[in-house]
Amino acid sequence: MKHSNKTLIKPELLAPAGNIEKLKYAILYGADAVYIGGRNFSLRANNDNFSIEEIKEACDFAHKHNARVYVTVNIVFHNEDVIGLEEYLKTLDDCGVDAIILSDPLVIEIAKRIIPEMELHISTQQSTINYEAANYWKSEGVKRVILGREASGSDIKEIIDKTGLDIEIFIHGAMCSGYSGKCCLSNYFTMRDSNRGGCSQICRWNFTLQDELKNDVEANVGYAIAPKDLSMLKYLTNLIDMGVKSFKIEGRMRSIYYVSTILHTYRRVIDEYCNNPESYEYNKNYEKILYRCANRDAIPQYFDHKSGLEEQYYMGRAEVSNQDFLGVVLGYDKIKHEAIIEQRNFFSPGDKVEIFGPKIDNYSFKIEYIKDDEGNILDAARHPRQVVKIPLEKKVNKDDLMRVKITG
């Protein structure tokens, strides 16, 4: 893609963080901001989530690295849930939180009274897909709207042009089958409240389609409404050109490896394009890295057409866990030229692997040998969290990650 001379505003890369460890990795791997949930008032109620002390620690760490922290206060409240909300919002403000993400407008009213300087973001749970709704939130003092994932490229552009609001969109991760906030399948199937963080992901279950008389439409052929994942990689430059303010990655419950890999990749694309749009070229290797990382296909979904046949799965499918993540770099022995690795998945001598990290280019090599921490040669690294050493000429850094060789 070639561009004339123009000034591009680099969008914020916004990462999920399910706990403090994930938050630190997210920031180290390129996030400009992270969104987290507290122990109350947040969707993903079954995640670890952050205590007040951890929120404070998160803010301190993020701010030290010039990153921002947004806290989700995005449940749909029941009467009794409001108890303690005012104190909680005040505490978030005291912790140094940069913005709160809300769905229920009662939070706006309370926030404006209790913490008037706090930046407010409207959650995707509101399914905002038009400029009139966005303009309403703007009139309420909201700084940013996270659009519904159903918004097309032209929808996004028109909303930016007609509101002047900061617009945030999801660029990668799992999708809902229905409109966010308009699905209560979880309530009816499992009694878990989808709009208060209990979603049991019914849209990933297997069903049978029946006709009006409740006879199977097709014998022995399952019915599913499960969406594929989202990836906006192919359209990232279009979104930057439009002036999207923030690129959000889904997945507060995802692993460190997943979040680091996704961030590391999108960080590179954003920087490569914004730093030199004239010479930017789409890199197929990034696709390979992103698409291997999750256990579902990732596609643009709604960007340039209505979601249809290709955007979902139809049969029950086993979601095999990803085995690419091999280990975390704990350190590097400059004298022996060995990397010290904490194992995450099985690997053995002869395996082709690569190490990536925030401060190094991807580095591929073949494992020549593996030693344990007493220097004994091993036939493989078999045990989770086992600390081993492997020979490596190139210096690597603490918190770099080792994976199966994907690119090149």
Partner: protein, 294 residues
Amino acid sequence: MKTLVMPNNLSDIDKYKDNDGFIIGVKDLSWFIPLELSIVEVKDISPKIKEKGKELFVSLNKIIYNQDIPLLKEYLLILDDLGLSGIMYDDIAVFNIAKNMSLKTPLVWFGTHAFTNYHTANYWYNKGVKYGVVGTEITLDKIKEISNNTEMSLMMYGYGYLPMFVSSRPLISSYFKHIGGTKEDKVYHMYEEARKMSYPTYEDSKGTVILSAEIINTINELPIINKTIDYLILSSLNIPSDKFLKVYNNYIEAINNLEDKEKLNTISKSVANNSPAKTDKGFLYKETIYRVKE
């Protein structure tokens, strides 16, 4: 307490003698409303309903896209001249346009799953929204608490299938394309083996809607509901006219006999018998789980 009927065809409207009003939808801007009319038909039917001394609420409750906004503005102006009792909405765009156009027709917040507390009700009430339809997944006790703490006039589903899920995705026609068949214009069912439940599922140009497997029946609760809410909604969505008319008459009889518990029990059984699927109490006595682990 007044009674609002969501009819499923125009020709039945004269058969409802004792209700207080109707809720209808408008093609292209409504979803899960049994009767969606063209704007011309709405203009035509509106004075006829008013002549009968009944109220008319028009629901524009679908998610709004940018491309819908010119049509929405045009329809809102037309509807505002009809002297409706209310315009129902979910998407905030409807509220924003109505406010900016200074429309005189009262608004009804029809958030379906979102109206779950009185604080948010008061937020909208203070913005000028007169009515709200309480969420379909909260308990009767919570509805009572809402009623005690808001000036907003409340509506609730008293009878009908409850909408559980709305998607922009063509989840039935895509399936048929996938298996090499053709979707017909009818209501299908999504069957779940473990619960052995069939959930009515249909698709139109706006996407896919999935309804509850069972039909809410609140006959026994009417004495409490009568003191709690202002409008009871009887929905004919996915219910044949003949059956729904019987149920409607059951409800009218029940409303006229609120003090007679034994009679209400009998009527409730009739409602169950006249319904095309098993009836239940929805979430009126079932508290959903906020989080699985503490």
